[in-house]
């Protein structure tokens, strides 16, 4: 083929030449302005944001303290912290009578010794306070939220100054709604329901309670050595941890370095033995 001989080609009539592989993905600019996100900047200097244009996040759907009533907030808080129920109920129980901040903090630290948590003691108190379950009060249980201290106005060398007013002694007390929540915690009934729900394991539950009731508690291995070969646990196959887990959630036993009976678990075991 010579340089000028192009008879074998016809670009002008070849429709494939106009094909643009990216065309299908191109944005349609003619309609673009309608869908563009509005600017969050207000008119004026410094690019200050326009509060009305800032996107609203759906925080009200996830924040427990957006509940309207204390009961709703407490319910939401407990629903959002399922692994800390025992701790939260224990704090409520501590606050049944006005308790000083330092004592409450020490009690929670003691509870945390065997239940590692990222929450500081006073953070847990603060969550319950925001929910309306407990409140900062004075020694007589009068809420301190109604007390707003003014700084002291003092005069030094003829010049007036504001001086930080000394803090009052802060106690923590249960609110009415917190008391109602505490009333819903009934370990004795929860343990009884365990027995009712799985009557075939009555003996296993009782054995676990007895082993945990020993001085100093017992280990999972020790419980497993005794119960794992029981015929009732062979089909379906169950291991000791299944029962430990249920008893712990019911409030009958707790981890204190070993598995030990709680006061409720001991009381239930005593009742069983009497029967």
């Amino acid at each position: 083929m010579t340089e000028h001989d192009q008879s074998g080609f016809s670009f002008a009539e070849d429709t494939a030449v106009d094909f643009n592989p990216l065309e299908a993905f191109a944005f349609d600019d003619a309609e673009g302005d309608k869908d563009a996100a509005p600017s969050v900047l207000a008119e004026g200097p410094f690019n200050m944001p326009d509060p009305d244009a800032i996107p609203q996040f759906q925080r009200e759907l996830v924040a427990f303290d957006n509940g309207e009533t204390a009961t709703e907030r407490i319910e939401a808080l407990f629903a959002q912290m399922p692994t800390l129920h025992k701790m939260l109920f224990a704090i409520l129980d501590q606050c049944s009578a006005p308790v000083p901040t330092a004592d409450l903090e020490a009690a929670i630290e003691e509870m945390k010794r065997h239940h590692h948590s990222v929450y500081e003691p006073l953070t847990l108190c603060s969550l319950l306070e925001r929910a309306g379950a407990i409140a900062q009060t004075d020694e007589d249980g009068v809420p301190l939220t109604e007390v707003e201290q003014e700084p002291l106005r003092v005069e030094v060398d003829g010049v007036e100054f504001w001086r930080v007013a000394p803090a009052p002694a802060v106690y923590w007390s249960l609110t009415e709604e917190g008391g109602a929540q505490l009333d819903t915690y009934r370990p004795m009934e929860m343990i009884a329901r365990l027995y009712e729900a799985e009557p075939q394991y009555t003996g296993i539950f009782t054995t676990c309670l007895e082993l945990c009731g020993r001085d100093g508690g017992t280990s999972l291995r020790a419980i497993g050595d005794i119960v794992d070969d029981e015929p009732v646990l062979q089909s379906p196959k169950r291991y000791a941890m299944y029962f430990i887990d249920k008893l712990e959630h019911a409030g009958a036993i707790e981890w204190t370095g070993q598995w030990s009976l709680t006061a409720h678990g001991r009381e239930y075991l005593t009742t069983l033995n009497e029967d």
Partner: protein
């Protein structure tokens, strides 16, 4: 920080002895130091103890400062339980934020307020870094963010105020004047140009009376200090 915040604003540059002026510069340096510390990081126990032990002027001659000092004293008078945690949370809310846009907090960097897209490490940072270096200052190894952070700019003013006091006491009037002039220029070119806008954002994001008070004190103090520096320079001229 001194146990008592001195009233630096009532005095004027007129009829001041050299020692008076040196003391005034020391006092300004102390206030800059306190403000720089408050913006640099969260309040810790040591600072909280100092803040509680401090007496705050009732009448400083500036309404914003008066309101700010009262706000700080009132907050501390009512912060009975776990104030460090509450102040840390508010510091994070006000200055760090957690959003995905550039409007989730009052970002304490000059570049954010002087660049079109609110970006860090902009021209403002280069400018202030050049000024620090021209004054023989280098950033500390431990400082890992931009040099146009409000705490660094306030700290720079503290260093210059301190140097001014030393120059005055050494009878080096030329150097003292030069330092005052540098402070006046830095105030006009940088701090005054963006800190009021930054503080307006602080007031939007901070929720505790403490940081709202700090914002008021900062704005009031910078107003007064700018007026003072302008007075001192014009007196000299």
């Amino acid at each position: 920080m001194t146990e008592m915040i001195n009233d630096v604003t009532e005095e004027t540059a007129e009829a001041m002895t050299v020692e008076d002026l040196a003391e005034l510069c020391d006092s300004r340096a102390a206030t800059y130091e306190l403000l720089a510390r408050l913006y640099r990081q969260e309040v810790d126990q040591e600072l909280l103890d100092e803040l509680i032990a401090t007496d705050y002027p009732v009448s400083s001659g500036n309404d914003l400062m008066d309101a700010g000092y009262y706000g700080i004293a009132k907050y501390l008078s009512n912060a009975w339980v776990d104030p460090l945690m509450k102040l840390s949370v508010d510091y994070t809310r006000a200055f760090l934020g957690s959003g995905i846009d550039t409007y989730s907090a009052a970002y304490p960097f000059e570049s954010v307020y002087t660049s079109e897209k609110r970006l860090l490490m902009g021209d403002a940072r280069d400018e202030v870094l050049a000024i620090y270096r021209s004054c023989g200052l280098e950033k500390s190894e431990s400082w890992t963010v931009g040099e146009d952070h409000v705490a660094v700019e306030l700290e720079f003013m503290r260093v210059l105020a301190h140097r001014t006091a030393a120059a005055l006491r050494a009878d080096d009037e030329e150097r003292a004047y030069s330092l005052i002039n540098t402070q006046r220029n830095f105030m006009g070119d940088h701090l005054s140009s963006w800190v009021p806008v930054f503080l307006a954002e602080v007031r939007r994001f901070a929720e505790t009376g403490f940081y709202l008070g700090v914002a008021d004190v900062t704005e009031g103090f910078l107003e007064e200090d700018e007026a003072l520096l302008t007075d001192l320079v014009s007196d000299r001229n």
